[in-house]
Symmetry: C2
């Protein structure tokens, strides 16, 4: 290993000396090779997932993750590493939730359930009521108060398996999660349960964010997700017997906001220090798994982008920042704080890239930009072909960075293969073993390559 490390060091020195005469093809090859043979992202993820674990905003895990990320960035010899304070919501799950379906008195089936983030608790002894199954908010209106009042609304619109891009299927269902309680409360429902957003039939409930909007506190009703297998079971049982009752108990609550931080590291640009290129992911995660894909992967990839630039001997012309956002999952406070501060300081963010779609094989990027800028990007597509990166499309970049949009800058989201993402998303199996080292490292390299190109060529003015 010692000899191997010496060789790598030697190669790294060689690279440093010769970067200026290298073609972009050469530099990308160095970046990919370094990432796959000498990457740090997997090791960092191992620590984040297995030593720290879940990192819900305001939790001890989130606090530890802030300290860890800062200390690791400090080891990289960046020009600056700092914490950006931000107040974040603190929601706690409390005692593990419990639920069952009661087909007749004394005959029950236990159900896998989890509260949605932001939900209120049930009464201490739980809620038991009849169930009304719907697939849309329109169905609530059709049913009306007379059929809903005093019951539990069961949202059971499944993700559409026929859609190729799994996020499209997610987006077509997530309103049930986010607004389900708010909408059902209007008709007098006493609680809502939801089919987990997962294509697979399995036993894992998937949590997620929900909001009561302006609903007064005394009108707020508990909201929880059940596994897809349990959703199928409940639906079948309801077809056989409308009098089936559902019981669940959860003790989650919203505590006072607490102090937390975005973690930021920077390499100062040698020619255009006020042109900022940022790369990031979110440091917080849901609490059920350890957030390895969502978004431990994006965090360690973003950290490794700056390390790889340095290792590859690239001296950025523009200022390159890694930004690890706090509180993406249930508040977006970190993203808001970062954008506000950047604006206040007049920092010109020419390009921002996020990785928040899992640590799977990268397929390309989604770009938020004008046509002229997009054409600039398309000009680089061939450089990525040898790495099997083909997907360059206009579209949304991501929630961590979209507040940074200006007329002429470019935002982008890494687009990994999305087929397995919702097997793990916000569930207890989003753990380190679900991440493949090579897939993660290919993502890191792909991000680094794009950052390198934007740094070298800048963003063309309109």
């Amino acid at each position: 290993m010692k000899l191997f490390k010496s060789i790598l060091l030697f190669l790294s020195v060689i690279t440093t000396l010769s970067t200026n005469s290298q073609t972009d093809e050469d530099v990308l090859k160095t970046i990919y090779t370094q990432s796959l043979t000498n990457g740090k992202s997997y090791e960092w993820l191992n620590h984040l997932s297995n030593q720290i674990g879940s990192r819900l905003s305001g939790s001890l895990g989130a606090e530890k993750a802030v300290t860890y990320a800062k200390s690791e960035l400090e080891k990289l010899g960046l020009d600056k590493v700092w914490l950006q304070p931000v107040m974040v919501p603190r929601w706690v799950r409390g005692t593990k939730e419990y639920a069952f379906i009661e087909s007749e008195l004394g005959k029950t089936n236990t159900v896998n359930i989890c509260a949605l983030g932001g939900s209120v608790a049930t009464p201490a002894l739980g809620i038991k009521a009849n169930v009304v199954e719907v697939k849309s908010f329109e169905a609530l209106e059709t049913l009306g108060k007379e059929n809903i009042k005093g019951k539990i609304v069961f949202y059971n619109r499944p993700m559409q398996a026929g859609l190729i891009r799994t996020h499209d299927a997610y987006n077509a269902c997530v309103d049930q999660y986010y607004k389900g309680a708010l909408e059902a409360a209007k008709y007098g429902a006493i609680a809502v349960i939801l089919r987990s957003m997962n294509f697979r039939l399995d036993d894992l409930p998937h949590t997620g964010s929900m909001s009561y909007g302006d609903l007064p506190i005394n009108k707020r009703i508990p909201s929880a997700a059940i596994s897809t297998n349990d959703a199928e079971l409940l639906s079948t049982m309801l077809k056989l017997n409308k009098d089936v009752k559902f019981f669940f108990k959860q003790s989650c609550k919203q505590l006072k906001d607490v102090q937390s931080y975005n973690v930021i590291g920077e390499i100062k640009g040698s020619q255009f220090p006020n042109e900022y290129i940022i790369v990031g992911g979110h440091l917080d995660s849901w609490d059920l798994g350890d957030g390895s894909h969502d978004d431990g992967a994006g965090v360690v990839q973003s950290m490794d982008v700056l390390r790889l630039l340095k290792e590859s001997g690239i001296k950025p012309k523009r200022s390159i920042r890694v930004v690890l956002f706090m509180n993406k999952e249930n508040g977006l406070r970190g993203a808001e704080k970062y954008a506000k501060e950047a604006k206040k300081r007049g920092e010109n963010h020419v390009f921002a890239l996020e990785s928040d779609a899992g640590g799977f094989t990268p397929r390309g990027f989604s770009f938020t930009c004008n046509d002229k800028n997009f054409n600039q990007v398309l000009g680089w597509k061939d450089l990525f072909e040898p790495y099997l990166i083909h997907y360059f499309e206009k579209g949304s970049s991501g929630a961590n960075i979209n507040l940074l949009k200006t007329e002429n800058n470019i935002l982008a989201g890494l687009r990994p293969d999305s087929q397995r993402y919702f097997d793990y998303h916000h569930a207890s199996n989003d753990t380190f073993d679900a991440v493949n080292k090579r897939e993660l490292e290919l993502g890191t390299a792909t991000m680094t390559a794009l950052v390198y190109l934007f740094d070298k060529y800048g963003v063309h003015a309109k």
Copy 2:
């Protein structure tokens, strides 16, 4: 479910009636939607993997798989389903192998080991000897007989992590497996052990095929693979102490050839019945896992291609066959037999497609054909873009079908994402749980779409 099935049936009838007026875009959409919402491949794979299990040529599993595949194909209402007899080698692993590293007398580390397919056994009491580590056949020559005679040769050339296409890394190492024993025997080695072909560091030995070439039976030496973790350990221990000994015991043997079968199903072409389009995978597997990726996936995908064509109301102009080859892993007898019979009967195989690279997200195809034919194929590339299929390259198609090559026909191999393939390849973890339903079904749809296009447009003559 009943209502759902009726709707599907209705949709299927509608499709049948209107196929002729549909654009290719429409047909591909139907194919992908059907595969993702109403596919059979995952269910078939579940049976093949979990009810039948491993299917090494000549084993009971292989025999059961032949019977099962035939009976399932018969349910599809194809024009013809039959078994094509072929004699296959029968190698059996015997008692589970056992190995240890002995650093000093009485101080041992157990090692995860498996015989390579085709290897001879060790003596009944095992082999214990000093070890000489090499990374190439050239190193054997440099060391010479004086340093090798009476020892165990340890091939420890790792797969190169820096290569993007993992099969390139595999191809750069597989000579150690295939010819390692033959080459080492020339220098008087008494056995060979090999580093498993796996990028990951883990505890699983990966088997594979090996050959003694013309080596007389009494000169044949045992050959076995050890896990990557064990290879690292052994290498480190050898650096500390050259006198480390390695012990292993295996009782595998080659029995007499036995009768087996390729399984074939056919839809007869309505306009050009003697133009054949075939799609296939191999029904046999190695014996350590249950062969879910290699090549259960290819088998069930190929079967489902014909089912999807029928379900989508496509009436092929050309004869479409599914061919499930026997004995790809250790002999290729099924492929040879099929090619020989096809030639004898003057069947014009215009296009052959195999799936034998795992049931992962499909990225595209590798085509073996002339430039003119390749241009024809490139003309269809845009049709596949909505399904994130971007990879259309010239290259090798695959061992199951390459004997079918003629001057003007086209062979193709499905190219799924390859990053995770060697985590499972020929190891005990190549099991059903490692296959994602959507990824498998996207592969099926991608194959079906290409078969549909070749059937509709034929292969352009030179």
